[in-house]
C-alpha cells in the first residue's frame, strides 16, 4: 500500500506543472493561437520565481515576479505574432530558445554560476514529507498543488461560462463573426496569451520554488511541449485537459517509479523516454479517434476535405 501512496504522490508531483501550463495554454488555443513557447515561458517563470524568492525572501513574491515577467514576454509574443504577423509556431520555437538561453545568461550574470541556483524561501508544504499512511499521498507537496482544483474550477468557469471565455472561443473559431459582433479579436487574443503566460509562470514556479527549490539550466526538459499536447489531446475542453495532464503525469511517475524499483530492467534512458512516447501515442490515438478535432498543425485542410 505504501508503494501506492508513493506512486500517487509522484503522480501529483508530475502532473502539477503540466496541468498549470496546460490550463493556461487552453486559453491561447481557444483564441486560435498555437502557443508553442510554453516551455520557454515555464523556464522564465521558474527562474524569475527563484530570483524573486532570493531577492525578497518570499516565494509568493517570487511567483508574482514570475507572473509579471511571463505576462510581459507573452505580450511581446502577441506583438510579434498578431500585430507583426509572424508565424506562431516558429516564433513559439524561438520563445523556447529565448527562455533557455536567456535564463542561462541571466543566471550567469546575476548569480555567477552555471550550476543550480537554490532559494531558501519556498512555498509551504501543508503535509510533511515524513508523513505515513494515506497522508503521505500529499507528503511534501507545495500549496500550488492544493490550488489546482480551484484553478481548474476557475478556468472551467471562465472558459465555459463567462462572457470573456465566449469571446475567446469566438475569436479562435471564427474571427470574422467575432469581429462582426463587435469583439476586438486582437485584444481578446492579447488577454488569452497573457493568461497563458501567467499560468505557465505558476507552472514553472511549481517546478522551482514549489518542488525542487532550485533553478537549473533546462529544468523543464520538455514539460512545456507535453502541456501543449495535453491541450490537443484534451480537445481544448477544461476537463479533457485535466484528464490528459493526469495521463502524462502518470507516465512521468511510472518513469520515476520503474527507475527506483528497476521494474523492467531497462536502461535508464529508455525509461526517461516514456513521457514522450506516451505523448506520441496519445496524439496518434486522438488523431485516429477524433480525426475532425484539428490536431494537425499544417492547417485545417485535411479536415475540410471531408
Amino acid at each position: 500500500m505504501n508503494e501506492f501512496y508513493a506512486f500517487s504522490n509522484s503522480v501529483l508531483l508530475g502532473t502539477t506543472p503540466i496541468l498549470w501550463a496546460a490550463l493556461g495554454c487552453l486559453f491561447a488555443h481557444r483564441a486560435g493561437i498555437y502557443q508553442l513557447g510554453l516551455e520557454g515561458l515555464m523556464l522564465i517563470g521558474a527562474f524569475a520565481s527563484i530570483g524573486g524568492a532570493i531577492a525578497f525572501g518570499s516565494a509568493w513574491t517570487g511567483i508574482l515576479l514570475a507572473i509579471a515577467a511571463c505576462v510581459v514576454v507573452s505580450a511581446l509574443f502577441w506583438l510579434v505574432v498578431v500585430i507583426l504577423k509572424a508565424n506562431a509556431i516558429i516564433a513559439g520555437l524561438g520563445l523556447v530558445g529565448i527562455g533557455l538561453g536567456g535564463t542561462s545568461f541571466l543566471q550567469r550574470v546575476i548569480f555567477h554560476t552555471s550550476g543550480a541556483v537554490s532559494a531558501k524561501a519556498v512555498i509551504p508544504t501543508p503535509v510533511a514529507g515524513t508523513a505515513t499512511g494515506p497522508a503521505s499521498i500529499l507528503g511534501s507537496l507545495s500549496l500550488l498543488v492544493y490550488l489546482l482544483p480551484l484553478a481548474v474550477g476557475v478556468v472551467w468557469f471562465v472558459a465555459r461560462r463567462s462572457n470573456f471565455g465566449l469571446r475567446v472561443s469566438a475569436s479562435g473559431q471564427y474571427p470574422f463573426a467575432a469581429t462582426a459582433a463587435g469583439v476586438n479579436v486582437r485584444w481578446i487574443q492579447l488577454g488569452a496569451l497573457c493568461i497563458t503566460g501567467a499560468m505557465c509562470a505558476i507552472g514553472g514556479s511549481a517546478l522551482s520554488v514549489g518542488s525542487l527549490h532550485a533553478f537549473s539550466y533546462d529544468m523543464t526538459a520538455g514539460i512545456g511541449y507535453v502541456a501543449f499536447t495535453a491541450v490537443l489531446f484534451g480537445r481544448e475542453a477544461p476537463w479533457g485537459v485535466v484528464l490528459a495532464s493526469f495521463i502524462f503525469g502518470i507516465a512521468t511517475a511510472l518513469g520515476i517509479f520503474s527507475q527506483i524499483h528497476a521494474i523492467f530492467g531497462l536502461p535508464l534512458e529508455f525509461i526517461q523516454m516514456m513521457p514522450y512516447v506516451v505523448t506520441v501515442l496519445a496524439l496518434w490515438f486522438a488523431g485516429w479517434r477524433w480525426p475532425q478535432a484539428g490536431n494537425a498543425a499544417a492547417g485545417a485542410f485535411l479536415e475540410l476535405r471531408e
Binding site: G94, G101, Q189, A298, F301
Partner: protein, 386 residues
C-alpha cells in the same frame, strides 16, 4: 519564385537577423559583456581569426544538409520541426556501421555504407511522424519534437552505454571513435568528399524542386492543398515523400558529422543544430541557393559561439538565446513594404495570423479579411510557386 521576390524576402529575413543581433548585443552589453568586444569576438571567431573561416565552413556543412531537407518539407506546408532527432538518428546508425563493419571492406566503402545507413535511419525517424501526420492527421510539430527528445535519450544511451569509450574523456560521456580509415574528414571538418556530398545533395534537391513534377506538386500542396487535391495531387504521397527527404538529408548530415569532424558521439553534441537549421531554411527563403548562403551565415554564428566563451567569457548558451531571438522575429513583418513574404506564404495553412481560419469557406464566400495584403498574396497566380 521570381528572383526579385526571393531577394526581397531574403532581405527581410536578413533584416530580422540583424535586429535580433542588435537586441542580443544590447542584452549582452547590459549583462556586462561589452557590445564592442562581443562584436569583434564574433568577427574574429567567424571570419578573421586563424582557421576561423574553416570553422565557419565546418559548421555550415551540417546546417546546409539539414536545412535543404527542411526547406522541402516547409515548401509542402509540412512543419517538420524534428531535424535534430533525424540528425541524431543518422549519426548513431553511422557510428554503429562505422565501428561494426569488418575492416576488410575498405574504409571508403564502409564510409559510404555508413552514410547511406545514416541517411536511411534519418528518413525512417522522420517518416514515422509523417505517417501519423498524413494518415491520422496528427500534429507533426509535436510528434517530430517528441521524436527529437527520444533521440536525445538515445544519444545519451549510446554515449554511456554499449559503445562507451573506456578512455575517460572528462565530464562528458563519449563513445569509441570510428576507425581512422572510415573518417571522411579530419577534425577540421572540411574535405573534398564533404564538399562533393553537399553539392550533390543541393543539386539533387534543386533539380527535384525546380525541374520535376514532384517539385511542382510539393509547391502546389504547400500553397493551396485544397486546389492541389482537386487537381489530382495525392497529398498523402507528397507529404510522406517530403518527410522522407527531410529525414534523409538530416540523417546524411548527422552521419557526416560523426564520420567527419567529431569521429565519435558525445552526450548532447550539437544540441542546438535542429532549431538553427530551421532558421537557415527560413532565412534562405526555402530556396536551395538561399539556404546554402544562409548556412554559411549561421555557420559563422556557430563558429563565433564556440569562440566567444573563450574570448569574452560569455556563456555558450547565449547562442541559444540568439537563435531563439532570430526565430522569434524571422517571420515577422518588420517594416511596411508591400513585398509578399514568400516564406510565410509557403508556410500558409498553418495559422500564421495566430488564428485558425476555415480556409475553404473564406475563399468561397470571399469574406473580407482583417489583413487585405495577405488575401491578395494567396490569390496570386500559381506560376510563382515553381
Amino acid at each position: 519564385m521570381n528572383w526579385r521576390h526571393g531577394l526581397a524576402s531574403g532581405g527581410r529575413s536578413v533584416a530580422a537577423v540583424l535586429v535580433a543581433l542588435a537586441i542580443a548585443a544590447v542584452a549582452f552589453d547590459a549583462g556586462g559583456y561589452s557590445a564592442g568586444g562581443t562584436w569583434s569576438g564574433v568577427l574574429t571567431g567567424a571570419v578573421t581569426g586563424s582557421g576561423s573561416l574553416e570553422t565557419t565552413i565546418r559548421y555550415a556543412f551540417p546546417l546546409a544538409f539539414i536545412a535543404i531537407g527542411v526547406a522541402v518539407s516547409f515548401r509542402g506546408g509540412f512543419f517538420n520541426a524534428g531535424a535534430q532527432g533525424q540528425f541524431y538518428a543518422g549519426g548513431i546508425v553511422a557510428l554503429f556501421v562505422g565501428i561494426a563493419a569488418p575492416s576488410s571492406l575498405g574504409g571508403v566503402l564502409i564510409a559510404f555504407l555508413a552514410m547511406v545507413a545514416g541517411a536511411v535511419a534519418g528518413a525512417l525517424w522522420s517518416v514515422i511522424p509523417g505517417l501519423l501526420r498524413v494518415y491520422f492527421n496528427v500534429n507533426e510539430v509535436i510528434t517530430t519534437l517528441m521524436f527529437s527528445f527520444i533521440a536525445d535519450y538515445l544519444v545519451e544511451y549510446v554515449s554511456i552505454g554499449p559503445l562507451k569509450s573506456s578512455a575517460g574523456a572528462g565530464q562528458v560521456a563519449v563513445t569509441r571513435p570510428v576507425p581512422a580509415a572510415v573518417r571522411v574528414t579530419s577534425s577540421s571538418g572540411v574535405s573534398v568528399s564533404v564538399v562533393v556530398a553537399v553539392v550533390l545533395v543541393a543539386a539533387a534537391v534543386w533539380w527535384l524542386l525546380r525541374r520535376t513534377r514532384f517539385g511542382f506538386e510539393v509547391g502546389l500542396v504547400g500553397r493551396n492543398p485544397i486546389m492541389a487535391e482537386v487537381q489530382g495531387v495525392e497529398i498523402q504521397r507528397i507529404g510522406l515523400a517530403t518527410f522522407a527527404i527531410t529525414g534523409f538529408t538530416a540523417g546524411l548530415g548527422g552521419a557526416i558529422e560523426v564520420l567527419g569532424p567529431l569521429g565519435s558521439i558525445s552526450n548532447g553534441y550539437d544540441a542546438n543544430i535542429g532549431l538553427t537549421a530551421i532558421l537557415v531554411a527560413l532565412v534562405g527563403v526555402l530556396a536551395v541557393g538561399g539556404v546554402l548562403a544562409a548556412a554559411v551565415l549561421f555557420g559563422g554564428l556557430t563558429a563565433a559561439s564556440v569562440f566567444l566563451p573563450i574570448a569574452t567569457g560569455l556563456p555558450s548558451t547565449s547562442l541559444v538565446f540568439l537563435t531563439g531571438l532570430i526565430s522569434f522575429l524571422v517571420t515577422a513583418r518588420l517594416g511596411w513594404g508591400r513585398w509578399p513574404h514568400e516564406v510565410s506564404q509557403r508556410l500558409r495553412g498553418m495559422p500564421r495570423e495566430g488564428r485558425r481560419r476555415p480556409l475553404a469557406l473564406e475563399h468561397a464566400i470571399g469574406t473580407p479579411s482583417t489583413s487585405s495584403t495577405e488575401r491578395s498574396d494567396s490569390s496570386e497566380p500559381l506560376e510563382r510557386s515553381i
